[in-house]
Symmetry: C2
Subunit: 346 residues, 2 copies
């Protein structure tokens, strides 16, 4: 990102007009590179907004006339649900305790559910919803139910089954390694038709950032409002870098690093993986219970130049959360586990 | 901006957590520097959102229960009005032809007007609403009417009379010279009380970006959603640079450059200032009618490395619009007028 930012300055990207042909080329190129990286089918459209939080808001505004259902296992899924509640939707909530998975055999999606919102990788707990489970939900949910995934902290590692979803949302400051300041949605034609129907029923769907408005401009690789041209350009570069490295390689390495982290936490006194069920352990957010106060561990790691997060909310002092993104090397993981091994049990 | 971006990379700003104490210091420092630059009273709060378009949306959502009035003299004021219409408000519109000013003696703000929206500097036409006129509106408008100014293309040049307004909105890619990707609002306590009242009446006020939510976090120099940390940091640096240069100097120089541009367009065959009334000519967006097709002039300037915009919409081929921001030097203006003098009349 550092080198690309320098290049962006050379090229004058920060002062490029977003109404120029050069910008249209950037939008097209970034959407194409992102599509390749994530396997987005051509039938999906990529929209840029201000943040993942805005993306949640726009998805509810455009995807729901009356009712939606949220699978909630942590703070970020709760935020998605809160957004729908604030927007006056009948937002139902299927909740499990933090660290636990959803019992899909007991999930019956009500017939009138317009939108099913799934936080595919819950950053606050380190629980992942496996893509095969989302396929099962698709198969058993009512045919009119659309499915959207929050993949904020799992792109580009998660291999999304786009046949099972109608939209995804994410931001760029997690696994993609950019600075914060850009939200992204990819939605299919069913979602766009839903948006048209919701708008036809008189709902406010986001003004300039309604799906209809975003779509109309996207046809010409344009945006209704001034976009973050610099970050869109940077994102394209980062996607190309990752494509050059190879998506399969990147995902394999992430899985291996995650394996090393979980093995360490399972096998080291003073630690235990928070998520007991191996099947739903996140590859990108590895959460561990710790005997020593988390703050002390975090400080000890910081002295080695290593940054990990505390547990979320009430688990702040009893857990650490380790980000395992493509930017983190196997050596980073070795240094992390080495440091924790030295100071974890004290 | 270039040097500051390099420094940001040195300091690790792009990867700084927005929940860190270091970020809180950045928010506080940027809000303070911006406050000094624009003369924002301590009773106003500075909020960061994704764009000026989002700021318009949030201001209508939080500032209006039922009715607002928009002074519309061009496309950007029309966008503000459209936003209010889309949000289902009874959005009235007092319209004048492009290039003309509002006849304040004939503006009677209806008693039930909750919010008066004024595009203080209309980027599509180069018409400015003088601050003294806004003071007159404040004096004659009903006491319960709040006033907000869109100052997207006039900060930091315009000397805002904060006693006459309850809120301002702008973005950073015009006069402040940053890359696009950050919207800013400054609102006073009256506006926050209005937001609370609107929310109490059951309106959706923006979820995480409602004034109540933004305010609750701002108390601790925090944001409800992940902000664009890098651009907020950059903005602080740019404001400090401008403060070091001196606000009065910067405004005087802008006025002098604007004077030179208007004098040129008045005195050169083939050109005429679009805005006839000297009193309402924008200092930062200088618009001229031209005899030669605007596209030819723009191309001729581009060959000299000079960038100007065509007229807006239907005036695209008959006008040019010259940005006159603090980043433009008197030498830039001389080069521009010199080039236009050579090729303008052909």
């Amino acid at each position: 990102v550092r080198a690309h930012l320098g290049e962006a300055l050379e090229l004058g990207i920060p002062s490029l007009s977003h109404r120029s042909a050069a910008y249209e080329e950037i939008y097209r190129d970034t959407a194409t590179a992102l599509g390749e990286l994530l396997g987005v089918p051509g039938s999906f459209r990529v929209f840029f907004v201000g943040s993942a939080s805005e993306a949640m808001e726009r998805i509810i505004q455009n995807g729901v006339d009356r009712t939606c259902l949220h699978l909630v296992g942590g703070a970020f899924a709760a935020r998605f649900h809160d957004t729908a509640m604030a927007l006056g939707k009948e937002a139902r909530r299927l909740e499990v305790a933090p660290g636990r998975g959803f019992d899909l055999d007991r999930v019956a999606v009500p017939d009138d559910t317009e939108l099913l919102c799934i936080t595919q990788n819950e950053t606050s707990t380190g629980v992942e919803v496996p893509m095969s489970d989302i396929g099962r939900l698709r198969a058993t949910a009512p045919p009119e139910t659309l499915i959207v995934l929050d993949v904020v902290s799992s792109v580009p590692v998660v291999d999304i089954d786009f046949a099972s979803v109608d939209g995804i949302l994410f931001s760029v400051q997690k696994g993609l390694g950019l600075p914060a300041g850009l939200g992204i949605m990819a939605v299919n034609e069913r979602m766009l038709r839903r948006a048209a129907a919701v708008e036809a029923r008189g709902h406010y769907t986001g003004g300039l950032h309604s799906f209809a408005s975003l779509r109309a401009r996207q046809e010409r690789w344009q945006n209704p409002a001034t976009p973050n041209v610099l970050f869109i350009w940077l994102l394209g570069r980062v996607c190309r870098d990752m494509l050059a490295r190879g998506v399969a390689t990147l995902r394999l390495e992430t899985r291996e690093k995650a394996g090393a982290l979980y093995d360490f936490f399972s096998g080291t006194r003073g630690f235990a993986p928070f998520v007991r069920d191996v099947r739903i352990r996140s590859r990108t957010v590895v959460t561990a219970d710790c005997e020593r106060p988390a703050g002390e561990l975090i400080d000890a790691l910081a002295r080695e130049g290593l940054v990990v997060a505390p547990g979320y909310g009430e688990r702040r002092s009893t857990q650490i959360r380790v980000a395992n993104f493509p930017a983190h090397t196997p050596e980073d993981v070795t240094r992390l586990t080495g440091t924790l091994a030295r100071c974890g049990g004290q």
